[in-house]
């Protein structure tokens, strides 16, 4: 995977969550992930096609998802309801769109599919491609979320 593919997703995540959910995610050090097990309890997944095949996963811990979605929607959520799932899908969609805009400026054009949302501790993301998976961890207040990107 090209190193220049990382920043568009990192910056896209910060931009989307700052603008839509009024929170300030702090990125940690990216790392290579060996398995397909999601880091969080709820994940939005979007497949990418174009310059190469890939996927982006936005995975939240339960607490982080509720914090971000409550802030974004202006009402308090205490469970991973259908509305929280829908919101995680839309966040994933926006992160992917924001990143694709930046990638297009680098000459890499991608089209995105419709996001799907998976819930449950230790769930597997089977749609991740064959390529290596890079995980970018974020802290939102004290809560964890991770953006994973994979390109063939």
């Amino acid at each position: 995977m090209k190193a220049e593919y990382v920043n568009p997703f990192l910056n896209g995540t910060v931009n989307v969550l700052k603008t839509m959910a009024f929170v300030d995610p702090k990125p940690g050090k990216p790392y290579v992930k060996q398995d397909k097990k999601a880091v969080g309890d709820i994940s939005g997944v979007i497949g990418l096609t174009g310059s190469t095949k890939g996927a982006v996963v936005v995975s939240f811990s339960r607490e982080c998802a509720m914090k971000v979605v409550s802030s974004m929607m202006g009402e308090q959520y205490t469970d991973l309801t259908d509305e929280v799932r829908d919101a995680v899908g839309e966040i994933t969609n926006m992160v992917s769109g924001d990143a694709r805009r930046s990638l297009a400026e680098l000459g890499a054009n991608f089209e995105a599919g419709i996001p799907t949302v998976v819930v449950g501790k230790g769930h597997e993301i089977t749609s991740m491609g064959k390529g290596p998976c890079l995980a970018i961890p974020f802290k939102v207040d004290n809560f964890d979320m991770t953006v994973e990107i994979s390109f063939e």
Binding site: N15, V16, M73, E83, A87, G89, E90, G97, D98, A112
Partner: protein, 126 residues
């Protein structure tokens, strides 16, 4: 002249979240006469039955996309002048050109704030 806050605005998006966010933002801007549809195919009959003053529609929707909805609205004598704001997750040049050619009033790229939405509305209704 600022936009009439009593005008009927139709919000079209397949994601309930996004409809709610746009609804909240329009509410913050003083617009109260809001209706929703979950894609172009559900929106079109609402537009054709009359009374819709402004359409805010997502680009990427199943069944009938925002672009196809725009084309259908512009093709009908009774609805062709309804202002239409397209919401997109990306700002691909070819998409923007296609939307302009189809007669879009303006477009806004996600993520966006209520202020950005207000600027777009003011520009459309000036």
């Amino acid at each position: 002249m600022p936009a009439d806050t009593n005008m009927k605005i139709l919000i079209v998006d397949d994601f309930a979240t996004m409809r709610k966010i746009v609804r909240n933002q329009l509410g913050q801007l003083g617009f109260k006469n809001l209706d929703e549809a979950d894609d172009g195919a559900t929106a079109l009959p609402k537009v054709m039955s009359g009374g819709v003053d402004f359409i805010v529609a997502d680009w990427n929707m199943p069944k009938m996309s925002g672009l196809d909805l725009l084309k259908a609205v512009r093709a009908d004598e009774n609805t062709k002048n309804i202002p239409f704001l397209m919401v997109t997750a990306e700002a691909l040049k070819e998409n923007i050109i296609a939307a302009i050619q189809a007669g879009v009033s303006d477009y806004v790229v996600k993520p966006f704030t209520a202020q950005v939405l207000e600027e777009k509305i003011n520009k459309i209704f000036k």
